[in-house]
Symmetry: C2
Subunit: 244 residues, 2 copies
Amino acid sequence: MSRKGAAAVIIGNEVLSAKVQDLNGTLLIKRLRECGIPLRSLTLVPDDVDAIVDAVDRARRQAKHVFTSGGIGPTHDDVTVRAVALAMGRQVVRLPEMVKLIETHYGERITPEALRLADAPAGAELWKQESVWMPVLTCDGVYMLPGVPQLFRIQLETVLSRLERAPVHLKCLYLSAGEAQIAQVLDRVALSMPQVAIGSYPNFDRSMDYLVKLTVEAEEAAPVDAAIAWLERELPEGSILRRE
Amino acid sequence: MSRKGAAAVIIGNEVLSAKVQDLNGTLLIKRLRECGIPLRSLTLVPDDVDAIVDAVDRARRQAKHVFTSGGIGPTHDDVTVRAVALAMGRQVVRLPEMVKLIETHYGERITPEALRLADAPAGAELWKQESVWMPVLTCDGVYMLPGVPQLFRIQLETVLSRLERAPVHLKCLYLSAGEAQIAQVLDRVALSMPQVAIGSYPNFDRSMDYLVKLTVEAEEAAPVDAAIAWLERELPEGSILRRE
């Protein structure tokens, strides 16, 4: 697999144990889509160094951009920095620039544990933001975002504003035929046009009129139009209810 | 890592590209929690054989029970059965029992593609259900559930009703102190009591009164009570707003 697009690692026992619903993954999926950055995988893992190292390592092999969420505070369960450093084969170092920001932020209330927020994989960069004192911690394509949804949202926008974007072209067909009736045609088009992604989604909600929704998408508009035209020719007569 | 608990692989380009919100993962997390079955990881992957093989292989090494969602229909993008078989080192075979069910269900509308629903990893079992014609497809601890949320929900309950359950004991403390102020105490308790999972969740919503929510949980009640008592002794005086 070539290293394109993004991959995500959502860290936290609280998410896997249903104490907190994962809002960050949902937001990330939506915003990457809007920015035209394909997401290759998203993994939820516990606050466990080995599990995070494994997930980050796989994410880095799949994708150019790796987003992590959670595990970067000052407490015992915040092990993301150490795990990312291990996955990248780097030391953990304390960033003097971040130490200064923490000292300013905490003032007299500072503790030795607060300074753990300044630890980062060697070679990490801090991306400053307008509205928040805490900068984005990044290291060679890995963006270590906080798990708190309000902060995650702000830092995500800071990262996205720096990444290259590519639009996605998408068209849909709503069909009155079932999947078994159309599978042969889909096979032919999908096999012949690997540059186009064709999705087939059966609908079991009787309040809606269609049996299958087909999605056709690609980076360019022309192959999408060609695939739609081919499908319109070969799908069972009268089976297309509408286009979108 | 010992093979305990569950792991999940949610399959589908539609979820990763934000065309559909993943309801199945959210439901699975909630229901496993309610049944006391710990979830070790949850991964969203595209309709891609290699990606699914990799994710299922990792899930099987982590957990005793592996739930997959999606990719088991009759169309070109339904590759879950093939991928699960590859991950398990098994052949794909056609199940005669399932062929009969499909013939009965489709009647005259049957197509060669509909029969693909009868393909399964060698050694697979079908678990019949009261309300749906389609049984649950299982193979040695892997449960291949459909991606359509209405069907996923029904099949999930069929699987859960057959699994052993263990209750989880959980207590919470809401604190007026910040994470940096309590990190040292948490470190000590967490290190000394590995049988207890301690979570620390900062709150940035000013409409709520607390700065940090601590969760303490374990399979037994006694260690949870012991950890709570220890925390109550050592946390900064007056910092506990309430218990839950």
